[in-house]
């Protein structure tokens, strides 16, 4: 009991220190006014662009229709990505595991590969399953994917050849959060699990009642 009390006391101290400074996400948290999110909030929200790509099952995925009534978290990345992509996906998976089922069920995480040459639908599925089987993987030609990225204001994919003969893929690092049919928030790399835990329920609560999925 003594240790538990001590742990709680220490925890409060640590959390107090945590909210007092540190990295960018923490600073954003400390200065986030009520009603705003931990990412870059778009005011007013932008209309959600529509596009169609192919799922890892080979079926067409009509973005607007499929995400109507949900919070969608759209990310452009690739499975050979050594840093940003797996961290974003792992953090989102971890957070969704801890949200109430109803809240997590109202969120669709959509991963569009920017490296279609290496990320076959099968590879993409296998990689996403490692994080969470409900994550949606989308595939298209590089030209198609670049077109979709440009509609969301994201930079086009850049291929950089490496000395060992392989290549790295340059891509945007932000997760694009849409609610219903509008793009609301851009979450840069550096957003933390605590931020997602706070923001995702609020984004779900912002889904227009008439659009809410059953």
């Amino acid at each position: 009991m003594r240790f538990r009390a001590l742990a709680v006391a220490l925890g409060l101290g640590l959390l107090a220190a945590c909210s007092g400074g540190g990295g960018g996400a923490e600073k954003a948290k400390a200065s986030t006014p009520a009603g705003r999110y931990h990412g870059a909030t778009l005011t007013p929200p932008l209309p959600q662009p529509d596009f169609t790509l192919t799922t890892t099952d080979g079926k067409p995925f009509h973005f607007k229709a499929e995400t109507q009534g949900y919070v969608s978290l759209l990310f452009f990345g690739y499975t050979h990505c050594p840093d940003v992509c797996p961290v974003h996906m792992a953090n989102l998976a971890s957070v969704l595991d801890r949200l109430p089922v109803g809240t997590a069920g109202s969120i669709k995480v959509i991963f569009v590969t920017v490296d279609p040459a290496r990320d076959t639908p099968r590879e993409l599925r296998k990689w996403l399953d490692h994080f969470r089987p409900s994550f949606i993987g989308l595939w298209g030609s590089l030209a198609e994917v670049n077109q979709v990225q440009s509609r969301f204001g994201m930079p086009a994919t850049e291929i950089e050849k490496l000395p060992d003969g392989s290549y790295a893929v340059g891509h945007g690092a932000a997760v694009i959060a849409s609610v219903g049919d509008s793009v609301r928030v851009l979450y840069p790399f550096g957003v933390r699990q605590a931020d997602w835990l706070e923001d995702l329920p609020r984004l779900v609560a912002a889904i227009p009642r008439e659009h809410k999925a059953d």
Binding site: A7, L10, L14, P82, D83, V87, Q193
Partner: protein, 263 residues
Amino acid sequence: MLWWCSAQGIPWTWTWRPYVGVWLFVLLIAAAYVYWHRAAQPGDSTRARRWAAGGGIAVVWLLLDWPVGALGAGYLESVHALQFLGMSFIASPLLLVGLPAGWESRLGPRATAWLRALAHPLQAIIVFNLIVIATHVPAIVDALMTTQLGSMVIDAGWIAGGLLFWWPVLRAWPSRLTAAARLAYMLAGVTLHMGVGMFYVVANVPLYRVYELAPRIAGIDPLDDQGRAGGIMMAGDVALGLGAIAILLWLWGREEAKRAEQG
């Protein structure tokens, strides 16, 4: 060329990397011990003390250099916890035991005054616990671990804190603690980071940005890793606490028996 292990934000590889500052730091400690043992009176530098010093220096090197140092600085909190335990509770006592007997008597007056003030049990436990708190506060850790100098400050702080913590237990100068007082002192020393370890276990979000956003190693989740770090700290504290209590109770019993014989 890198000076000290710190969080670089680059993907982990098993390719060896040299950390020159770590080598210099270890060499400096080793050179100091060689000098002290050579300068000591014949009976003051025993083989056991030299072995203890060598062991302490080896543990410091192992924990600070690649790969342990690099993994702990920028990738895995569990390895960071191992470094903390290793430096504070293995390397530090070995380094103290490894000093020649009467080492304190050869210090200059100013150093003696400083050591006398800091090595008092009350000051030592307060400073040690302040170092433990400061080096585990997320904002401080996140700020320091991303720079080589900051990371070095944390590592050096753990060694310095460990030396200070163990001084009243292992060096009978300036005052000698009774076995009972040593027992109470040890318990006071392990209780705080037992609490830190417990908090790591129960926290439902990763506390440190540096580990949460680090490139993943083998898909290890930062929250799981944080729990593991807490488990390591608690297990280390329990092992250390029980071990120390067993030894000190034995010493206590021996002191009482001696007293009974004399009385």
